[in-house]
Amino acid sequence: MNLRPLVLPLVILGVVATGFYCETLSVGTAGPGPVHVVYWEKWTGFEFDAMKKVVDDFNATHKDIQVDMLSTTAIETKTLMAVSAQVAPDVAGLYGANIAQYADDRAVEPLDDLCKESGIKADDYLPAYFNMVTYEGHIWALPSTPASIVLHYNKDMFEKAGLDPEKPPKTIEDLDALSVKLNRVSGGQITQAGFFPPEPGWWNWAWANYFGGKIVDESGKITATSPECIRAMTWIQTFPKKFGGTEYQSFKQGLGNFQSPENPFMEDRLAMEVQGVWMANFINQFKSGLKWGAAPFPYPADRPDLAGTALVDLDVLVIPSGAKHKREAFEFIKFVQTQKEMEKLCLLQWKNTPLSKVSPEFWANHKNPFIKLFYDVSASKNAFSAPKLGVWAQMNAELGSEVDAINLLHKTPKEAMESFTERMQPIVDQYKKRHEMRLARGL
């Protein structure tokens, strides 16, 4: 019997059947049985494993709802595409800085009513973190894990340079003085730096805040040319001025990846660095014997009111627009907010807790020896976070380019901040105008 005529129809049938089967996988099972909540999370490795334990706890205690967690790279883009294609997951683990943009685009659901129903309120959290999940008077997300960023210093390098390893810098002037003693140059190349602002280079905008300024204010007015901002940028330019722009860039090029044993802090090539609460875990993974310390980032000697100024950041859980199981999704998000589960998650991820109440066990069991410091700076009145602005991603990228020009000594801080303002202010204004036009047209 000749089976060849059947091959093509069978292949087509197979493709169609696979398509239908995949569709059932992405939308969860319908009909009797538990509701499947699809949860996309950006984490991999130990961070994913930690959240998986919370998910397992939830699934074990909720027979009618089952959370299916999936690790997803480039989560912002994929969530964006999934929402627009109306196949959004029920829960997505985004970054705190995404909220304004996603809220403006109505890509996430407001959670005000669900929070009210569940008794979740601002007082449950440290103000700096709760502030990050609200935008234009609405709650758009709830925390998954928080972070605070402080000065980390390598005690081994301090000792080798004859410095007291128990005396981290308190003021910017102290930091400068220590940095000079820790710098090493050989054959025209920097081999070791005391402090090096471009590493890790993730928060260029935050230098302004350490000097009492802001890159942009709440109304969207760019304030990058304020005396405080110019002072901050002038300070970061003192470093390449000491070494020369080319040598400075060359040293940056030679620094290894953050999440690797070649991390310059762990390789004894960089003595002081601004880093987040997660650093302890990476030190433990890649160089467990390293002697290190953490301290609040120094303040300018003439601005003691800025003591304890700390950048805080947050990973969040949102319900994307068009999620099929909104209530069940919130049930899971609410579960993560309970003190027991939140502390479990933060302990496993080596992070501080965003909650205002902390159990004694959390302090006792935490593996980061400086966890209290991370919590205290988050609770400080000087804690600050990324501006809440729909065009923040673009603004941050543009600022990065100007900071490059400062580091390469191609522009003075004033020139760089002026060109940044000139470029970004019309973009911010137009974004706001279009947003208002949309609201007026009901779009």
Binding site: T77, L80, M81, V83, S84, Q101, D105, R106, A107, G188, Q189, T246, Q249, S250, F251, K252, Q253, G254, S321, V391, A393, Q394, A397, E398, G400, S401, D404, A405, L408, H410, R423, Q430, R434, M437, R438, R441, L443
Partner: protein, 292 residues
């Protein structure tokens, strides 16, 4: 079989392509044209704003920088790629012992996917520890900071591009083997030197292939994306490696400005279309087809 039935069967056979073309090319092209006149973030319904996106592009300093970067890169990458591939193909066309081994070795790099290649070159060109600078450092005191100095970012990408000329080289090699030996022999009998044989016989005979590689190279270099996207996040130092496609991607997926990105896409389409036509027009009297 009458002509009507014949046409029907013809269309039926062509239908998968026609369907694919309509769904995956024609529809996106037309819809992108419409969205280019809208404020459109993908997530919210498009709001028509006339030619505002195009006017904004005209005033956008980063757009101008991305255009300049792209053309500067293409101006160097295209001839470098074409010439190095041709020279390699000519060398590999020589009858030598181990010819196939050499051919394989020179073709191999082009099999490395763009992302691993970018990661690899990130280390080769590292300003402090890269092998290039270790070697150059033996001759000059200050070797270039390839990836950290705005003046060197584009040359780095051009250099990297020459490493992956294997495909172009292979096409040249195939065409070189098609050059009739009778013409070469005739030239030899006339006393032509090696250069004269190359200039007057080989190059004219492979000119259609040079044109093909030029068109493909032009399109490829104007659309460069993967390598700068991996090696120069946010456009590299002072946006010196911010190219048209990377800026377009950032506008679409980072800034959610899909309407703006569509306008950029259409401008790119028209520019490439015009340049390709110009190249074909320019080549009319310079390309020799064997059959004509």
């Amino acid at each position: 079989m009458n002509r009507r039935k014949e046409a029907l069967i013809g269309y039926l056979f062509a239908s998968p392509w026609l369907l694919g073309m309509s769904v995956f090319l024609l529809y996106p092209l037309v819809s992108a044209l419409y969205y280019s006149f809208c404020d459109y973030s993908v997530l919210k319904p498009p709001m028509t704003i006339g030619t505002a996106n195009y006017i904004e592009l005209y005033h956008d300093a980063v757009f101008r920088k991305a255009v300049a970067n792209t053309f500067i890169y293409a101006a160097f990458a295209l001839p470098t790629g074409l010439i190095s591939a041709l020279v390699l193909a000519m060398l590999l066309n020589a009858k030598l012992r181990g010819q196939n081994i050499y051919r394989t070795l020179f073709f191999l790099p082009s099999l490395v996917p763009a992302i691993p290649m970018a990661v690899l070159w990130n280390w080769l060109l590292n300003g402090q520890f890269g092998i290039f600078n270790v070697l150059i450092g033996k001759i000059v005191y200050h070797p270039p900071n390839w990836l950290g100095d705005p003046a060197w970012t584009k040359p780095s990408l051009v250099l990297m591009g020459t490493w992956g000329v294997g495909n172009t080289m292979l096409i040249y090699l195939a065409s070189l083997q098609d050059v009739p030996t009778s013409l070469i022999e005739a030239a030899e009998l006339d006393g032509a030197s090696s250069w004269q044989k190359t200039r007057n016989v080989t190059l004219p005979m492979i000119s259609p292939v040079i044109l093909f590689n030029s068109v493909m190279g032009l399109i490829g270099s104007l659309q460069i994306f993967a390598q700068p996207f991996v090696m120069f996040p946010l456009g590299g130092p002072e946006q010196s490696a911010y190219f048209y496609s990377t800026y377009l991607y950032d506008k679409a997926f980072r800034d959610h400005a899909m309407g703006y990105a569509c306008a950029m896409g259409w401008i790119m389409f028209i520019v490439i279309f015009i340049l390709t036509l110009a190249l074909i027009k320019f080549s009319e009297k310079r390309v020799h087809y064997g059959g004509t």
